[in-house]
């Protein structure tokens, strides 16, 4: 899994406040090239590249655009999801901070491909300090005549994790509570204001200029069969060098966590934040960073031997219970029940039957929740029950001893 800078190639190279420094690095050449192609050709190129959504779900980007292009609507919209709220991620912040122009160019290409006259960037409220620079980057691109075909508007979130979910995000742009919508219809058919909409992550869109400029064949050489390109990851926790790393999607986590970030005495790693997966240290050498292995949308949080697995899972569930939008009961009630049960394990007051209840509740939530939040909420419980079951069992034994 060598490091390779595709998405972050301009970070630290250009001045994020000066468009000319970006243009010097071949900036906006991809947009100019795209404009000489038909929108269908642009979509075909992105499809051929194998680019999949970097927000986590991994839906093929070109297919999404094609869906919007073929859908019937009065308008079409591009939305850039810059609402990264997953616990432990800061990679979009790094990208927005260091290279807002690649994002603007990626949005401009997407808008051309689907024929959107209006585009939105939905940035989380926590990143308000980046707002002026982003708006300025759009103004500079406009001033250079790069945005004559689409108008990019920046909208700001207000502290709601669930608004990173595409349906909730669109509700929020429409000025509503960030609650889920039932799917289908999918956003490509009925998205923002019921019009065909493509909603893509910051990182996905920042891949696009490089794909158009260098071609799908060039992009194809990186990654595994079903996971092309690179992934930008945010490493934090018990590591010597926390930070943002861009890795080719074909290697094992050990290289990133041990070799690059300098982690020592690792006990377990949380990949993908609160709704992500937990793997023990013994699996770092065999777990592939890709959709074939374990894909992290950004967060890689490392825990050393001194950390308590159950404290981590309990805190993770507390977070999800707080951020659940409340629309569907499996997630709203399920997360709350899990918090209480996990608290029992943390305190050592859990009963033996609690493990079975946790497992049953997990599968119920996974099967019946409305969106990714509830469906993935039990991940940390399921994974730790699989890899650290003794941590749960120890807490039960203690209570029994006390009772006797």
């Amino acid at each position: 899994m060598p490091e390779k800078r595709i998405v972050s190639k301009n970070c630290g190279v250009i001045d994020p406040k000066q468009i000319d420094t970006y243009i010097k690095q071949d900036g906006f050449k991809a947009l100019q090239k795209a404009m000489t192609m038909t929108p269908e050709q642009v979509i075909a190129e992105v499809k051929a590249s194998g680019l999949r959504g970097r927000g986590g779900a991994g839906f093929p980007c070109g297919l999404k655009w094609e869906g919007v292009r073929n859908a019937h609507g009065l308008e079409t919209y591009v939305i850039c999801n810059a609402d990264e709220g997953e616990v432990g991620t800061f990679k979009d912040r790094y990208l927005l901070q260091n290279d807002p122009f690649s994002l603007v160019e990626g949005i401009a290409i997407a808008a051309y491909a689907i024929g959107a006259r209006k585009s939105f960037i939905y940035q989380r409220g926590e990143y308000r300090y980046l707002l002026a620079q982003l708006k300025d980057a759009i103004q500079q691109a406009k001033g250079k005549g790069f945005l004559s075909h689409t108008d990019i508007e920046v909208r700001e979130g207000s502290g709601a994790y669930v608004c990173g979910e595409e349906m909730a995000l669109m509700e929020s742009i429409e000025g509503k509570r960030g609650e889920l919508r039932y799917k289908p219809p999918f956003p490509t058919v009925q998205g923002l204001w019921q019009q065909p909409t493509t909603i893509n992550n910051v990182e996905t869109l920042m891949n696009v200029p490089q794909i158009i400029l260098n071609g799908a064949t060039w992009y194809n050489q990186f990654g595994t069969e079903r996971s092309k390109g690179t992934k930008v990851l945010a490493v934090a926790g018990d590591v010597a060098k926390p930070g943002v790393y861009e890795m080719v999607l074909n290697g094992f986590y050990k290289e990133l966590i041990i070799d690059l970030a300098g982690a020592k005495n690792v006990k377990f790693v949380q990949l993908g934040g609160a709704t992500g997966r937990i793997i023990p240290a013994s699996m770092l050498e065999t777990t592939l960073l890709s959709w074939e292995g374990v894909f992290s949308a950004g967060p890689v949080t490392v825990y050393d031997e001194s950390r308590d697995v159950l404290d981590t899972v309990h805190r993770t569930m507390e977070f999800l219970a707080e951020e659940s939008c409340g629309k569907c009961s499996p997630c709203r009630e399920g997360c709350g029940v899990m918090v209480n049960m996990l608290e029992g394990f943390v305190k050592g007051t859990a009963a033996e039957k609690d493990i079975k209840i946790l497992e049953e509740l997990s599968s119920t939530m996974m099967l019946t929740s409305l969106c990714g939040l509830g469906q993935a909420a039990p991940n940390s419980v399921m994974d730790t029950l699989k890899y650290f079951r003794e941590a749960y069992e120890e807490r039960i034994q203690k209570t029994e001893v006390v009772k006797k």
Binding site: T89, S158, G159, S172, G178, Q194, D238, Q270, Y303
Partner: protein, 144 residues
């Protein structure tokens, strides 16, 4: 059950109007929300529903400066609790409270995306990272 109004392009401004109103007075008063409801032709309860959904919007008066300290795991691993305790001690209030002089509101928040500088907090829109309990007093002094 609330009847969701039909999607109107006007109401798309609701979140921005709420954010703007809050930045002017520090919180969303009943009057401010009623005014927004009227200008967008939606019900007051609808505006209240939106205002109370988002954790950065407040329907209660807040201090001149809002401290949001991250309680999520990456900050927790770097002794976030020590920093939280130190702020509480320095201000003499618990999370969720406002100082008597109206200078600070102190709240806990979820991941603010500054984990490489954990533990971290936001004061208004400013990020403060790599915090230690010892640095808190100094940082708070710079706010009026």
């Amino acid at each position: 059950m609330t009847n969701k109004p039909t999607s109107s392009k006007n109401r798309k401004e609701m979140l921005e109007l709420l954010q703007e109103a809050q930045s002017q007075t520090g919180f969303l008063s009943q009057e401010a929300m009623a005014k927004i409801a009227e200008s967008l032709a939606v019900s007051k309860s609808d505006v209240y529903g939106v205002a109370t959904f988002y954790s950065f919007l407040s329907t209660k008066p807040q201090g001149r400066n809002v401290i949001r300290i991250c309680q999520s795991l990456p900050c927790h691993l770097k002794d976030g609790q020590g920093v939280i305790d130190s702020i509480a001690k320095e201000l003499g209030i618990k999370p969720g409270e406002t100082t008597k002089d109206g200078k600070f509101t102190f709240t806990m928040t979820n991941c603010i995306g500054e984990c490489d500088k954990a533990p971290a907090m936001l004061i208004n829109d400013d990020v403060h990272g790599n915090l230690t309990p010892a640095r808190i007093a100094q940082i708070l002094k710079t706010y009026k």
